[in-house]
Point group: C2
Chain length 371, copies 2
């Protein structure tokens, strides 16, 4: 029986994590749940999964829910942290969206919880601090992103020093073949060709910033140089990522584009549990296609490599700027191409802090979001 707490239970990954629990109810126990504000769904989840305690980030919504359920309802960041550190949980599954996920991850690591991580910002903005802390506390960080889960699986039984190159696959997003991106609408950008995901990550996939964030995450998780992380466009999302070793052997992870598989793996590791998806049938797929990313049309990918290579506070700046820009785009305040321009400007105007403390990073994040 694996016991875990789930931050972001009403989001896309959170709901799919609970699908996994439903399919393997004898194997998992959900100790705590938390969401940002979607209390209607959280209430149903409480009824179905009987957690010990829940948290709602939004104070008012927390109060509202509290009057409707029999269990403790915590609130605010302290509520998220309490769920993250829950005594009875072995593992924290963090699928919060945005930099709000950083502090709960850090506090869970300090409480020696293993981390199933779907919150990219934790590793992008504060990756060095988080990975150092995880090592110090002998805590396992299990990636949930299909790409990093793929790399993690390719490295099963292998030695890190034998890695030659990590190759992250990228669907290319909905605009892979569209030459002019100046007329892109929000509705178009929200239609991801292969994965069923939340809004923020879907827009990030359309700008390729998602892949940029993943490049930085891969660097943090697997400790390779940025020059040894490649991105290849693979519209079918059948190959989830690859690792080349120094003998030029390449291990690739493939499978259905179903997020429940990497979520389940992060929770079941080192075991694998059965999953009901159809088997991969390469003969019916026929062909798998690969090409290079177009960095002219998708400059966000370049910005991410730049931010990663310069390091320090710059990835945090880039990430915060991206969150702000995506929100503006989703609120119809800026155009699609303005997202990259906005990020570039924030990065250029930033004075680099080489070895920032967590508090400094959180301040930077807050400042950019309040500007």
């Amino acid at each position: 029986m694996k016991s875990f707490s789930l931050l972001g239970s009403t989001g896309s990954v959170g709901k799919q994590a609970l699908d996994v629990v439903r399919a393997h109810s004898a194997d998992f126990s959900v100790e705590g749940l938390a969401c940002y504000s979607h209390i209607e769904l959280l209430k149903k989840q409480i009824a179905e999964f009987s957690p010990q305690v829940v948290a709602v980030y939004d104070e008012q919504k927390a109060e509202e829910l509290s009057s409707q359920v029999d269990i403790d309802v915590l609130s605010g960041m302290s509520g998220l942290v309490e769920i993250a550190q829950l005594e009875s949980s072995d593992t924290l599954l963090n699928s919060l969206i945005g930099s709000i996920g950083i502090v709960p991850t850090v506090e869970a690591i300090k409480a020696k919880k293993n981390i199933a991580l779907a919150n990219k910002e934790t590793l992008v903005s504060a990756g060095e601090i988080v990975m150092r802390l995880a090592q110090k506390n002998s805590v396992q960080i299990m990636p949930i992103d299909s790409e990093h889960s793929a790399v993690f699986q390719c490295l099963n039984g292998e030695r890190r020093e034998d890695i030659h190159k990590i190759v992250l696959t990228c669907s290319g997003g909905p605009f892979r073949e569209q030459r002019d991106l100046s007329t892109v609408t929000k509705e178009q950008a929200l239609k991801h060709p292969s994965w069923n995901m939340g809004k923020k990550i879907t827009i990030d996939s359309a700008t390729l910033m998602n892949k940029g964030l993943e490049v930085i995450e891969a660097k943090m998780l697997f400790g390779v140089d940025y020059d040894d992380i490649d991105v290849v466009i693979h519209p079918q999302s059948t190959v989830h990522s690859l690792v080349e070793f120094k003998d030029k052997s390449v291990m690739a992870h493939m499978g259905p584009a179903d997020m429940r598989i990497p979520i389940q793996y992060a929770l079941s590791y080192p075991s694998r549990f059965a999953h009901a998806a159809s088997s991969l049938d390469l003969s019916s797929i026929g062909s798998l296609h690969f090409s290079s990313p177009d960095l002219d049309r998708f400059p966000c990918l370049t910005y991410a490599y730049d931010a990663g290579k310069q390091g320090g506070s710059l990835p945090c700046v880039m990430n915060a700027a991206n969150e702000v820009a995506v929100n503006k785009f989703l609120n119809d305040e800026i155009q699609f191409l303005d997202i990259a321009r906005f990020i570039k400007e924030k990065m250029e105007n930033h004075t680099l802090i080489k070895n920032p403390e967590l508090d400094e990073l959180l301040d930077i994040d807050k400042r950019i979001k309040n500007e």
Copy 2:
């Protein structure tokens, strides 16, 4: 420093194994060499690799060589066995062609040598006996075939009970797209589209019997049911094989079509040594193609599944019949399509022995070859 003996040093795999030693001379020591009859090349190998002792299967050629070199030259099957059991070797690399490779493998296992196995017949004809013996002697069987090496690598760090399916890739051979195979010549059959290999295996690739033998080997090496071993046509030979796990995750092994990579892996395992091949560049490859095998045009694949499922002495019969038929074809005694007919006839005329001893299998093999 890994010390090993090499049976079949003048054949295609043997020569490539010595290429590997050349590239990593500080890591490998060649203790013994053996070949069938090609003493001119063996003489050069003795000069370059300074083995302690060599063997030549052909008695007359052994005598001839003995007068030209300073070291002991053994001969016959007893010579091969002595090389296979050499005290100073940790590992036997067996790249003999045909059923002549069975006894040396068995004797090396009894002497507790790890086996780097390129001799398919060992596992096809006597797989159950050999695998039982390997387990009893705690001996590791490292496959050298690119397909089985791929599967072995896909299983790194995984549990056998989590395997759902093994998928062996198959180039399809030179006649993949040729409708009428009645006019196939020896020269056409010897032109393999992607791998540089010996004559026997190249013909086997043209009939798809090679894949059939590999299906039986996979069953023996990895202990899965025949119904859980699939074959998929993949002309580019970029994906060397795949394993699907019960969570529908698929691990695939890819890489350049260079036999020296799996040979090196079998010798360096569990480490990986550097290899000079170019990195896999999926963007330049562009597309990977997959389709189902055509069992009507290539019945040998069906015969192999049948032989494997019935088990007992039948795979040995099939293998011996195939060796005879390929020889006849290479000697212009029969046509290409006669190979499958010959095998089918021998299989149909055989009275199955359910649990044969090794001697019975060797007798069957000899009898079919002398008929």
